[in-house]
Amino acid sequence: MKFDDVLCPFCGCLCDDITVTAEGGRVTGVDNTCLLGTSKFLGDNRLKNPIMRTDDGWKDVTYDEAIASTLDALLEADRPLLYGWSGTHGEAQCIGVHMAELLGAVIDNTSSVCHGPSILAIQEVGHPGCTLGQVKNRADVIIYWGCNPTEAHPRHMSRYTTYADGYFLDNAFRDRTVIVVDVRRTETAELADVFVEIKPGGDYAVLSALRAMVRGRDEMIPDSIAGVSKEQLRHIVEICKNAKFCAVFFGVGLTMTRGKYKNVRNAIELVDELSRHTKATITPMRGHFNVYGSNEVNTWMSGYPYAIDFCRGIAFYNPGETTAVDILARKECDAALIVASDPAAHLPSKCIRHLANIPVVQIDPYPNMTTAFCNLQIPVAVSGIDAEGTAYRMDGVPIRLRKVLETEYPTDTMLLGRIYEAMMEVRGR
């Protein structure tokens, strides 16, 4: 069976033009996906059933047993942590927030280790953003700052920016100017018209200099800033000011280096400054396909995008205190539910060491690095392959994930729903 216009559930580009061929309960072929998407669609080392760690290895258990032991772990805990959420659909994320409220738990998603700072900056100064459709049809200057779409969002350039023809751009890659700013010459830099090599940690200074120059305060800028010559900065300012529409994209190269959220704030303010001369927008390059959705769901349900602590009975948000990394590093957390992410692959080792000492339940279709220390792993249907749901693209546009396989596995929504219902029973609600 062939399915057209399927969404790729891998990165924040959320490509929606995939053709999937499925036969005999397996995906047998995909068209239009990049390498990352292809491996996700064709990946087939799923867990068959829930597995529980015993003293001498793993034991297969039923879903009922798995749910019962998840309940035990979470209900007994004083300070449970519900972490992950970026690789599942919005409906399941909703249940997660309800669950956190019922348990008085901390709920956090992976944005606390990638684009959390971007959100802090946006909370301070706002977000002059737009959809990727606007970028594709209008933007004649594209800036990639501290990100390498070639590696992390392979189809970003061919679908939305450099190479995609738009309504007002017939010959996209001749008409668009691409500026790449990074600390090393990445693959994306090879495709840029202008490559700006910044010394590590110099982003804030360069952004400030650009702002000053856009304001016409050239004279106060020294000849070189963080390894970038004044000449080149002037060149960039000229390109941006003469653009019809300038779209800035930034990645963890900006959010996770020295200056963190202040960098992003400065970048937003540069966009603000540019908008006095032309139209300019800024968009974070969100990694997991639905990490944006997790921020959205959390925000509309609790008022905060991530790192929400319900231990007081009300939502409390204080990144740096209620973020997963801090709670684990302070060894506060005494049980964790990991949903659709792999913290072992991206949290600091100190946090992982603590996770290894507490009961950890993981809900994930595939064995991953977190499997190495979790006590129980429950496989589920994969959102976007055998489960439907809503996901948010990196520009905040919600799109419906499609289902291309029939499955025996419960979806995240079903499994979390059952756990949540059982919790309500125990808590007498």
Binding site: D5, D17, D31, N32, L35, Y160, T162, F173, L191
Partner: protein, 219 residues
């Protein structure tokens, strides 16, 4: 020793020899018509197809540059001022080895050198070129930059460049079946846009030139 010196003097100081040396008539030194000099411009219009640049076996031998209109009659070896308005091949004598391939390959007869064109006409020979595309699947990310940017694909499937899913299998290449597949290599015009659009140097365009005898082709 002494004897031979005397012998030489007697020979070369004779009136006959000296007269011959000074007044003998030899044929004047002219360039024979078959001499293949650095190619010259014929004045015909260059269409900027770059066939000459692509076939030149030496680096930096020939370049197609924007040159002044009225400069066409000048020998190509003279450099011309920039900022002019027609394309013309410019030969760099220090590099050119006068092989004449560029003269032979030019479809418009823009260049000439010796009897290259004449013999090409007599023998009825020509060059044809085809392009071979090679993808290194271990480097390719299937990002689709190349297939979106390819000008031939844009013509075959105009919506593709705008982000629509492919509607035709007539494109030169597409990301399909989990990899970048070359579907219609024969349509490639060798523009190398794909090569420049690839971030991973995964796609390579190879030009294969073949000399053909046109009579044979028609048979």
């Amino acid at each position: 020793m002494n004897l031979s010196v005397i012998w030489y003097l007697r020979e070369f100081l004779s009136f006959e020899w000296v007269h011959k040396f000074l007044f003998v008539k030899t044929a004047p030194l002219t360039t024979p018509p078959y001499f293949r000099d650095y190619p010259l411009l014929t004045g015909k219009e260059c269409t900027h197809c770059l066939a000459c640049m692509m076939i030149c076996p030496v680096p930096g031998g020939i370049e197609v540059l924007m040159t002044r209109e009225d400069a066409c009659h000048l020998p190509v070896t003279q450099s011309r001022p920039p900022g002019s308005d027609t394309w013309n091949p410019v030969i760099y004598p220090g590099h050119c080895i006068r092989c004449g391939l560029c003269v032979e390959v030019c479809p418009e007869g823009v260049l000439m050198s010796g009897r290259v064109i004449e013999f090409q006409f007599i023998d009825n020979t020509a060059f044809t070129s085809t392009f071979q595309l090679e993808v290194d699947h271990t480097l390719c990310m299937r990002c689709g930059n190349c297939s979106i940017a390819c000008p031939v694909n844009k013509e075959v499937d105009p919506a593709l460049g705008g982000g629509a899913p492919p509607s035709s299998m007539e494109s030169v290449m597409l990301v399909t079946g989990g990899e970048l597949k070359i579907l219609n290599e024969d349509k490639c015009t060798g523009c190398k846009t794909c090569e420049t659009a690839c971030p991973n140097m995964a796609i390579r365009v190879v030009r294969q030139v073949e000399g053909i005898h046109q009579e044979d082709e028609e048979e």
